[in-house]
């Protein structure tokens, strides 16, 4: 019985962490290239809405996932255009997108589905247990009897670890975020790299959003991300922009979330807000424990202009 509770707690942790981790991985790529997009929330919302819409229309998961990715990438590219082409302040651009997509997705939903008291919904993806792996006691069930998105997440972490630390592309990405001038004079197209990184951010963030509708909920609602985009930003910093670190950070936050819900159901008269703030307190504490200067890419948030000295 105890083990079942532990296993289900772990599984809940992974479920809570998955969308955050996906979006945070995307943001990691973008920030490594020097583009800081605090509009992750907008990317996720867009991914969530478009994947839901496509699923509702087509009934095909692949189409839906693709639509979510497109939605996320499109959103991220608006940000990329503003910050790279227009040299706009990346923070404002991100915040503006958050406002825009909060309104836009809700507006589109309203136009598409009208005001109904019946909830337009789709069937959610079912968990798929991986043979052998899912039989490992305790963690097997929690980690390897999940939905396909979670496996995509694991795969992404591995791929990104290789990408960042074993390939020339990773070096290029790092150089572009750290010293764009050095990259430029070495013949690297700084803006092209940044656009690609932003696209990747949109793709992963879109997946994170699609996870919410296609796996978790099966429907769309206004502001359905409810701040997860900001939490993803936190996971990026907490994980020190290392894919594995980011995953672990997301899991820590996810576990605090899973824990606070469980603590509440134990029943006590402490106001529920005391539990609700647990994940945030945990985040601050973890950050303090994992002390040591986290290094930001030196050119993070700064537009690159070749002929500016």
């Amino acid at each position: 019985m105890e083990l079942v509770v532990l296993s289900s707690f772990l599984a809940a942790t992974v479920r809570m962490a998955a969308p955050i981790a996906l979006a945070a991985l995307g943001e990691t790529i973008s920030e490594k290239a020097g583009v800081s997009n605090i509009g992750v929330e907008a990317i996720m919302l867009s991914g969530a809405y478009f994947s839901f819409w496509a699923m509702f229309q087509s009934g095909n998961v692949y189409v839906a996932v693709f639509a979510g990715i497109l939605g996320g990438a499109g959103t991220s590219l608006i940000h990329a255009f503003l910050s790279l082409r227009c040299k706009a302040d990346q923070t404002i651009a991100g915040l503006a997108l958050n406002f825009l997509f909060l309104g836009l997705t809700s507006f589109l939903f309203l136009m598409q589905f009208g005001k109904t008291t019946t909830l337009p919904s789709i069937t959610v993806l079912k968990p798929v247990a991986l043979p052998l792996l899912s039989n490992i006691p305790i963690i097997g069930e929690a980690l390897f009897a999940q939905d396909p998105f979670v496996y995509v997440l694991y795969l992404m972490v591995i791929l990104l670890m290789v990408f960042f630390y074993k390939t020339e592309w990773g070096v290029i990405l790092h150089a572009v975020g750290e010293a764009p001038r050095a990259a430029d004079t070495a013949g690297i197209k700084v803006h092209a790299v940044r656009y690609l990184a932003c696209t990747a951010n949109g793709v992963l963030g879109g997946l994170g959003g699609a996870y919410l509708t296609l796996v978790k909920l099966g429907f769309f609602q206004e502001n359905l991300t409810g701040g997860k985009g900001y939490i993803a930003l936190v996971a990026v910093i907490l994980g020190r922009r290392n894919p594995l670190g980011v995953l672990i950070a997301a899991l820590v936050i996810g576990s605090a979330e899973a824990l606070q819900i469980r603590l509440q159901t134990l029943g006590s008269t402490i106001p529920s807000q005391a539990f609700s703030m647990l994940p945030y307190v945990v985040t601050v504490l973890v950050l303090m424990l994992s002390m040591g200067k986290g290094h930001n890419p030196a050119a993070l948030g700064l537009p690159y202009e070749r002929d500016k000295r």
């Binding site: 509770v5 909920l217 429907f219 509440q264 159901t265 529920s272």
Partner: protein, 312 residues
Amino acid sequence: GGAKEAGTSGGKLKVALLLSGPANDQGWNAVAYAGLQEAQQKFNIETAYSENVGIADGEAAFRDYAAQGYGLVIGHGFQFGEPAVRISSQFPNTKFMAIESNTYSKNAASYVMACEEAGYLMGMLAGSMSKSGVIGIVGGFEQPSIVKVLEAYKLGAKSVNPSIKVLEAYVSSFTDVALGKEAALSMADQGADVLSHCANQAGTGVIKAAEERGLLSTGDSYDQNSIAPNTVMASTIYSVPALVLTAVEKVLGNTYEGGVFNLGMKDGVVDISGYNSFEAKIPQTVKDAIAAKRNEILGGSFKVPLIETRSK
């Protein structure tokens, strides 16, 4: 400031509704919106509404509508009581109404729904249908209008099964569906086999969780069977339409006055839905017990205790 002249324009009464969330929130706000629609059809009135009106904007919204000549402005939620009263003295010809509040003035009234009456019956249903002896309910915010439902639910469940264990959680959100779902899942993990909610949007997550785990569930605010036809046994019904209709009728008949009005089952404002596809699956004895209790409430021989702060 603005036009003090208010009431009817071109003979038509204009009614405005302020919602604290989106109008399609599958709960609290959705039913109010539906009520407005119904009133419009029935009385040939002009209507308007504002979504997502926060605490910071309530007063401005009331003022705006009153200044535009609306005869009745309804704030759907306790937090609108205060601003309504404050504005009401500046627009004596406009009638103000707040739902679930407890303040009033000459032309501002508060209408309170006895939601706990339906909550009690839902508790009875859940308690009777549980095989494991554990049930769970998820609340939105920990505030009186929600707490009273959860507390009544617990009492109802205990009345049919004194040894039942009721898990409860407040997710501090009416909108975080994922959180609602996760809370329900954690209750399921602890053995709960009937999952209920009183959490608007977030509550739909609870129903989805029950559906996914093949458990039973109850709905809230309106008949939510359509969300998960094989999961939702019955729902509480808060007939805001009835409330709105009552108010509009009074305004039209010039009998609208300030005060706090408690409306419950016997006023046709609170009820429970039918059992839909569960009609056959719920034992007759359970249905009978619930119907009997409902009659007692209607007849006034049983009063569901109103508990507005959370008990252990």
